[in-house]
Symmetry: D2
Subunit: 382 residues, 4 copies
Amino acid sequence: MQLVNEYKKVRDRSIHICRPLKTEDYVVQPVVDVSPPKWHLGHTTWFFETFLLSPHCPGYEVFDAEYNYVFNSYYESVGARVIRTHRGNLSRPAVEDIFRYREYVDEAMLGWLNQDLSLELQQLVVLGLNHEEQHQELLYTDIKYILGHNPLFPAYGPFEQPAVAPAAHSGFIPVKAGIYEIGHAGDGFCFDNEQSRHKVYLQDYAISAAQVTNAEYLQFIEDGGYTDFRHWLAEGWDWVKSNHVTAPLYWHNINGEWFCYTWQGLQPLQLHEPVAHISYYEANAYAAWKKMRLPTEFEWEAAARQFNWGRRWEWTESAYLPYPGFSKAPGAIGEYNGKFMVSQMVLRGASDVTPPNHSRITYRNFFQPNLRWQFTGIRLAK
Amino acid sequence: MQLVNEYKKVRDRSIHICRPLKTEDYVVQPVVDVSPPKWHLGHTTWFFETFLLSPHCPGYEVFDAEYNYVFNSYYESVGARVIRTHRGNLSRPAVEDIFRYREYVDEAMLGWLNQDLSLELQQLVVLGLNHEEQHQELLYTDIKYILGHNPLFPAYGPFEQPAVAPAAHSGFIPVKAGIYEIGHAGDGFCFDNEQSRHKVYLQDYAISAAQVTNAEYLQFIEDGGYTDFRHWLAEGWDWVKSNHVTAPLYWHNINGEWFCYTWQGLQPLQLHEPVAHISYYEANAYAAWKKMRLPTEFEWEAAARQFNWGRRWEWTESAYLPYPGFSKAPGAIGEYNGKFMVSQMVLRGASDVTPPNHSRITYRNFFQPNLRWQFTGIRLAK
Amino acid sequence: MQLVNEYKKVRDRSIHICRPLKTEDYVVQPVVDVSPPKWHLGHTTWFFETFLLSPHCPGYEVFDAEYNYVFNSYYESVGARVIRTHRGNLSRPAVEDIFRYREYVDEAMLGWLNQDLSLELQQLVVLGLNHEEQHQELLYTDIKYILGHNPLFPAYGPFEQPAVAPAAHSGFIPVKAGIYEIGHAGDGFCFDNEQSRHKVYLQDYAISAAQVTNAEYLQFIEDGGYTDFRHWLAEGWDWVKSNHVTAPLYWHNINGEWFCYTWQGLQPLQLHEPVAHISYYEANAYAAWKKMRLPTEFEWEAAARQFNWGRRWEWTESAYLPYPGFSKAPGAIGEYNGKFMVSQMVLRGASDVTPPNHSRITYRNFFQPNLRWQFTGIRLAK
Amino acid sequence: MQLVNEYKKVRDRSIHICRPLKTEDYVVQPVVDVSPPKWHLGHTTWFFETFLLSPHCPGYEVFDAEYNYVFNSYYESVGARVIRTHRGNLSRPAVEDIFRYREYVDEAMLGWLNQDLSLELQQLVVLGLNHEEQHQELLYTDIKYILGHNPLFPAYGPFEQPAVAPAAHSGFIPVKAGIYEIGHAGDGFCFDNEQSRHKVYLQDYAISAAQVTNAEYLQFIEDGGYTDFRHWLAEGWDWVKSNHVTAPLYWHNINGEWFCYTWQGLQPLQLHEPVAHISYYEANAYAAWKKMRLPTEFEWEAAARQFNWGRRWEWTESAYLPYPGFSKAPGAIGEYNGKFMVSQMVLRGASDVTPPNHSRITYRNFFQPNLRWQFTGIRLAK
């Protein structure tokens, strides 16, 4: 029963996120990393149809056999996938068809969930809901990208920021050298990449209680941070130069004043807000300019109970790699996380658009170091 | 009064063409040469607003000042243009906004057209209508591309093919060497590239009364035409190899049978129809394989009253270059045609989707030799 | 006997051109259109081996069977070719090996030429010599590119400019409308693209007796010619912007003064010299700025006895297309010219680096409109 | 005095490596990661001139002021650099000029080294020599690439493989969980990235005493390893498909038999040799296929005294990141290693072409995961 309620809540939330959109906003894909909102709505539905209803619900008939081709993402096991770059060319299935697809699958799921399910199947449903929550975060960031790169700068509309507990500390929090336990423990849900829980040895370090703010980041810009190669990784410096980067994504300098595209359209930059939409290269360069560094993901996790977090995903100095004892689940579900473990950096925390209770202290997010369309920020270490 | 009626008729026809579309179909741009239908609707409207209402209708206020940025195409004189590749990323203005834009401009135009207009202004209106008719043709071909490259192969719906007069001849029509007059004469509308009328000397030649059919083109394919470099221009052979071309656009070989995407979705190939959707390279290679050649645009024009045409734009062996005495109009209107006079080949005739009475014997269409999304075909000469 | 002497003279001249080079200069290929000098030396030799010695000289053994793979250029009939972009990666065969290859083939050729040869074979030898002369011109322009794009700007050394007859006219030469004969006549050698000789009708026109000079072109630059889109073809304007073009190739503005890379290294710009190393786009834009145009290749040919030419290849307003009655020779030789008849513009005349007596009034050179590394210039018409 | 001898020995060895080359081989750059041999000879010399002679040897005059532009590599502090892709276009300075440059600098260095130098300067000389040794390794691998990608497959000539101590173990060596010290200790030379020495906690693991052989890798190929996405990282699978990879670099399947390009030209594959020239993606996929994994760099270092190594650089599962306490030296020397600490994987060990005594147990090499032209191999862990 709890699973039924959870299912309804999560599925409704995806629709809720899209409510302010016009039909046209569901369709476009301005860059390869952004997916059209209608694709997210279809893909998360396809997950339940493909991994739960088709194999485990007797008599279930797929809504449309061709949707597997359209809404499969990276699951090579399950069939040919649409090349990601092409998603923005597909005007069909229409948005209304995808809403009907959702209703069809939801009806079948709600019927099926009322039975006694094995623990394994229950876990697969929970995985599907966590998967949808990940896509809810992407829905927000992709919608922001689509609207924020339109020359008319349309507003998304009201957006309620999550409540974040006040900081318990200020300044830098010292942490003693020693052995720490890292990774997920206990019975609750976690992704495969959070396991197995294992020991790491950390040296003495200190980690900032607060995230870097727009005001602080502006000092970096005004000090010529984007024009002095000495702060930058070589790859980052190439990125700055070939993309003519001079500020975080969504910042616009109009007649000498800084504006920022927000859910309410173009607005004056809020100086006290934590900086967002920066690449790993920028986070790393900012830290170098401050003569500090970013924390590793282990340092972050070991200290995370002592500072408040949850408004920005925070770049760490750790590459995304398997934990000791990591193993992939068999079959298509096993493709979930492990196959991305190269050339990406770990982010820790959560952001303004992370679904409530979706993240946790052991949660590992990961992106290529050049990407900025997530609500990425900086916490310093030394 | 006639201009008012003509204005209404042409403007309505653009809407009519789009009637079978879903909102999503108006938005996408699968390749750079195809524009989103909503862009065509906005751009043709922008033409009337920018070149007629704003400068010549006292008191007219533009619908939205930002639309100039969105709907300008190649008119460098009038302001910054949206890079063509990016049109498919723009979800706003929404389709309904563009329809309101059309209504707003149409109302202003119809009021303004009721006055006594100078001949020059009348001619500019006629140019705007011919411009819109050109975009109507593109609307059709772009819609076909959008739907025909969707993995669901949705049908457009009913489509009435134009009536074409029966052929006066069959076989090859001989034409005697001598001096011929080429280019537009008389008072009717023509584009600047059809002038000035001038003499050319043609050698003896013969031109086919009929266009090449799908059945004939299939023989070329079955004879290995796409795998024998000797039939091809060097640039065409590179194009075949890098794009793995093996048949005209929209042809699909499914289990050994040829199908073709049409207005009614995927259908068995109609063998008696004239071949369509081929590049200049393919037209040239087919002619070489037949040990013939394509006609020049002058040969075509000198003989065009003796054969029927109007269902396929026909590739000629002529590059798109100015006629003797060609001169550009001053100002932005002067950018209309002359600036494209390099690296393109001339097409003559008209196609299934050319607006009625839009084309004429002196009409010159032109495209890069690799493009295939128009209804392009072949007429042979020798 | 005359053929033997001619053979020796042409073959020696290729070596003579390369004499000032260091071994390293023979190897590199800075851009795709430039070939390494050692490749030219090998390829021209391969022509004689492949088309004359191997099929027609009994007992001849090829120097190295693998050279066909390395030195074939565009002759698809004769085997797989090295992709042109990769020529600059090949350090072997070494330069000394290629010189031995030339000696080996020359010895065999000279023995074979002493026999009674059929007229057809004699013509094929002449074609091989004209082919080598074309590559001599490319040798010069490729060497200039290689040295002129080296940051040390090394000099090539002494270079004797061809004597050009003094102009018979000045100002613009008027030509009357009428029928003119175009194309090669008589017994002398010509390329297939110069035939067949045919009539064209030309309207009244006037053509400049002199070529545009550096001084005149500088006025175009100083008048903002490279920053005003109105002078440019759309494709040319894109080319200017994406390549940040602001002057002809080899021009360098150093502290406000114009320098030009020449055979003697970087030198102050010679104002009275005809402008060189410009693209068709630049030639066309210059003419538009002067409110004139470029001549067609027919206008050029009809008037060419009345002005002096020979120092710059002159861009014409004609696309490179077949003459009436053009036919390809059978076999690999037939690939010589016809396969390039799309997307190129015709140049007429000759240049500082054209071998003596190689060009003629009916000679047709051709390049893509963006290329500048030949000694290309401008003659105006109106 | 020891430094003088060491200087002579290292500098001579670079010349020795190049002795079998023809002048042409010094010039080319077939891919961006490979530098022309003459560039390596110049760049290593430029290091001594720029960082030692110019600032620290009174009265020293640079050999040629323009060489800084040509031979600077990544040192942004010291001036504009030649874009790496363009090195293969530079025929000048000629090889003989670079040899003269080396002699000129060597003479100055040997004079200067005879003085009493501060410890800091001595360390900078040692850094310069270790830098040159790194380029000696690249010289070998770049030469192999240049010759091995020539269609004539020329041999390099005799090559003496390094003696490697016989294995102390066979099978898998078990290592107990616990805290291990990682990083360089003691007075000897090390690179900045090997410091500071620090504790890590390792779980129980076992590491293979032997490297994977060609015979073992062949089983992976024959089992369809390159066609089953399940073994591959997503990025690796994209790499396989877009590059059509089916075997290690330099492997050629000729009529069903495997050959391998070696220092002696194309030779039958030696089955007992350790596999070489594979990407990280391939190493990772092979390990996944064996249901094992690659060791981390810490596991490797903690066990390295128990197995023999030195013939292949071994890919580890560690990304290249700074050690705790890592700090960059001030000035241009500080750009040495730290700026590459993103998007690269760590290699441990040494290879056939590593200079004697150049590597050590704490040495960290690093490359992008797709690169294969180094002598990279596989050691398994579990």
